[in-house]
């Protein structure tokens, strides 16, 4: 029975990790949904689902970390490795801005890449600065914790100094990528060269200390247990209690195609996480992460139907329009091609909500994007 947990939820009391554990063992999906939806309505009483105009830019695919769950990276020296030039990056931003308009900081660039040993702090400072100077309408939501740790290491600077310099150069906020599952045992199995749990948390702690906002993510459905997922949520909630700097939590399932992990039956059972699991995971995250204002959908991995259903399981934001996505797409998931702004708005309306554009910090943006500009650019 989850009666005592339901009472806690309805009276606004915080759930303990044991409560979350019991929720995970509770099969009734509709009850989880009602509880999560209750919390979501309390936090966001307006019948609105927000979305963000943005695109991913992957400035390099060169990465020495070789995480086994990733199909995107190329090792240093690979003929398929690339680093985008500034001109290429500008062209991508021009396309986004044509779509998203001129309002300051209203268009989000989520720029991330591999850990490329040739790129030092000066490269990033120059690139971020150039974008900032040229595109006042762009929010630079860039560089995962993993990249920032590596840049600090290469530049022999402290984390705090590195983050401060990147910020000085134009970095506005930091995406939550690279969290995977915050457990060193799990990280040893899926990507042992990657930063440790405490390192990931430290980057966000430092950024929050400097007044920057960041997001947090979780990638589940590989080798972790339910206890690992709970521990992950617990660590995020603790840090958020201390800093309050996270704007949103985003979770998605491991996409196995073309990854080393999926090719190794000793580590992976060959079963991709289901939409059912996704709805339960977001619902429990919504219930447990009581100090996170927003939860984003992951339509890129879950597809339009499950992403829409997740709006009933605690999600209040549809995420980015993501004009471009390469990392998940490399692992066999290609829902990006199916999603247009019109489609996204229809999915939101069909679920009983009004779609509303927001910026990276969840301020509403009045201007509607211009899909026509995008179509023109595509046919030009």
């Amino acid at each position: 029975m989850i009666a005592s947990i339901a009472e806690k939820v309805y009276s606004g009391e915080r759930l303990s990790p044991e409560d979350a554990c019991r929720l995970w063992a509770h099969p009734d999906l509709t009850e989880l949904g009602m509880l999560a939806d209750h919390v979501r309505q309390r936090l966001h009483p307006e019948r609105v689902v927000t979305y963000n105009v943005g695109r991913n830019i992957n400035y390099t695919n060169v990465c020495w970390v070789k995480c086994d769950f990733c199909a995107f990276y190329r090792q240093p020296g690979s003929p398929e490795g690339y680093v985008l030039s500034q001109e290429e990056i500008f062209a991508k931003i021009d396309e986004l801005v044509g779509f998203g308009g001129e309002e300051p900081k209203s268009c989000e660039i989520l720029m991330q890449g591999g850990l490329n040993p040739r790129l030092r702090l000066d490269y990033y400072e120059e690139l971020l600065g150039a974008i900032r100077d040229r595109y006042p309408m762009v929010q630079l939501h860039c560089l995962s914790a993993t990249e920032i740790i590596y840049i600090a290491h290469l530049s022999r600077l402290s984390l705090a100094e590195t983050v401060a310099r990147l910020r000085q150069a134009g970095l506005d906020s930091i995406p939550g990528a690279g969290a995977e599952i915050l457990d060193d045992g799990v990280r040893d199995i899926i990507g042992f060269r990657k930063d440790r749990t405490e390192e990931w948390l430290e980057v966000h702690r430092v950024a929050h200390g400097l007044g920057m906002r960041t997001t947090a993510t979780m990638m589940y459905g590989h080798v972790e247990t339910i206890e690992h997922r709970l521990q992950h949520l617990q660590l995020l909630r603790q840090l958020q209690d201390q800093t309050g700097g996270f704007t949103a939590f985003i979770t998605w399932s491991f996409q196995p195609d073309h990854t080393d992990l999926a090719a190794d039956p000793g580590r992976w059972l060959g079963r991709k996480a289901t939409g059912f699991d996704h709805l339960r995971t977001v619902a429990i995250a919504r219930l447990f992460l009581d100090n996170f204002p927003h939860l984003q959908a992951s339509w890129v991995t879950q597809g339009p139907k499950i992403a829409q259903l997740s709006l009933n399981y605690g999600i209040d934001d549809f995420g980015s329009t993501m004009l471009e996505e390469n990392v998940v797409s490399a692992a066999g998931t290609s829902h990006t091609g199916q999603m247009t702004l019109g489609r996204m708005e229809k999915l939101i309306r069909d679920a009983g909500y009004e779609p509303c554009r927001r910026d990276t910090n969840y301020r509403r943006v009045a201007a509607r994007p211009q899909p026509e500009a995008l179509r023109k650019a595509a046919t030009a």
Binding site: Y10, L29, T30, H38, F276, K305, I306, Y313, D350, G352
Partner: protein
């Protein structure tokens, strides 16, 4: 009776309906409209699940079946269909009784318990053809339950037989027919029919043929094709008419809402139903159709992801490990057409339900060791 979630249910505007559902009272058409108007999907699912648990507990049925489409030639030209071709089209085919038997024999190594056979309305086919293909299936695989011919096909078979329906059903039964699928019902609305399928039987004829089948000892399923141009009133009417006929005959086994796929049909410009609508159709049907034992989520159309979730939204049947489904094949990748037995079981168990294999008539198939394939 107090409910833990009374606040949530009341907030969703479902308080009074919840009370009736708990008491086992029949819901009115107006209440059907209220259910469709509710956007708080988990609350809707919670109500539907009360009824589902009452009927079936955690039992979730599936079937191992083979689909055979004996012809794709059709003179109905329904605007929502991507399967049919016109009589003179070079892509048109008719399977001979021998070819039908061959299709069945191809899968003899698989533990199939149901053959599902439907086709276009092809006026060139004589009455004997229909009896011959039934016999061909039964001879090739006597142990499988034979479910064939929608009410629309039956209307054509009767036309060509020039006999009363009762006699036609007696002939079909004698040739091996054991039940009818529920296709061709579309939406019971003259307005929708006038726009999308005006050449086909109207709703009352569909219901009349279904009732006649039931009286002849042939149970059937019932369907509704949703997510195109229909409105909520029409859907509620559809459910209420099915419920009335079921009160009279008791011959409907399962209700199956069919999620419209606009790809490659004349209605391609429509977006098609969303995941929320897919679940809502199942939940509302489970609540309204209090005299139907089974509500099925047809995973090929709903996707397996939504269908698994639907096991908490009123559905107690996942259909099956389908072989050779062709009606919407052109719209899908081949890999999405099949699920292995194990995948289907895993989905049911993960959803916290108990998988139960059934045949066409919802008899439980006792687990036996699958026959070993005679393949080198």
């Amino acid at each position: 009776m107090t409910s833990l979630h009374r606040n949530s249910l009341e907030q969703a505007g479902l308080g009074p309906i919840h009370h009736k559902v708990v008491e086992g009272q029949r819901l009115s058409a107006d209440e059907g409209l209220q259910l469709y108007a509710c956007d708080q999907l988990p609350a809707l699912g919670y109500l539907a699940n009360i009824v589902r648990q009452r009927f079936h507990g955690d039992c979730t049925y599936f079937v191992r079946n083979q689909h055979i489409n004996y012809t794709n030639v059709c003179n109905k030209f329904c605007r929502f269909c991507s399967f049919y071709v016109k009589a003179k089209d070079e892509r048109g085919y008719v399977l001979s009784p021998e070819q039908v038997a061959d299709r069945v024999r191809q899968h003899l190594h698989a533990p199939i318990t149901e053959i599902h056979m439907v086709g276009g309305v092809n006026p060139k086919l004589p009455y004997s053809y229909y009896l011959d293909i039934l016999r061909a299936v039964k001879e090739a695989r006597p142990s499988a339950r034979l479910k064939a011919f929608t009410m629309i096909e039956v209307a054509q078979i009767q036309r060509i037989a020039k006999k009363p329906l009762e006699e036609v059903f007696a002939d079909l039964r004698a040739a091996g027919l054991e039940s009818l699928p529920g296709g061709g019902a579309e939406v019971f609305s003259d307005r929708v029919q006038g726009d999308l399928f005006w050449t086909k039987s109207d709703s009352e004829e569909w219901l009349r043929i279904a009732a006649a089948a039931h009286r002849a000892g042939l149970p059937s399923n019932a369907t509704m094709l949703y997510g195109h141009i229909e409105n909520t009133e029409e859907k509620v009417y559809h459910l209420c008419r099915l419920r009335e006929v079921q009160d009279e005959t008791g011959g409907f086994l399962a209700y199956i809402p069919l999620s419209f796929h606009p790809e490659r049909t004349e209605l391609e410009h429509l977006p098609g139903p969303s995941g929320c609508l897919d679940l809502k159709e199942l939940a509302v049907a489970r609540l309204m159709l209090d005299n139907f034992a089974h509500v099925k989520t047809f995973w090929i159309m709903n996707t397996i992801e939504v269908s698994q979730v639907a096991l908490w939204y009123g559905a107690n049947d996942l259909d099956g490990t389908i072989m050779d489904y062709e009606i919407t094949r052109k719209n899908f990748k081949a890999t999405q057409q099949r699920l292995t037995h194990q995948e289907l079981m895993d989905r049911i168990v993960e959803a916290g339900r108990v998988p139960v294999e059934r045949d066409s008539l919802y008899n439980v198939v006792t687990p036996i060791a699958p026959p070993v394939a005679q393949v080198a």
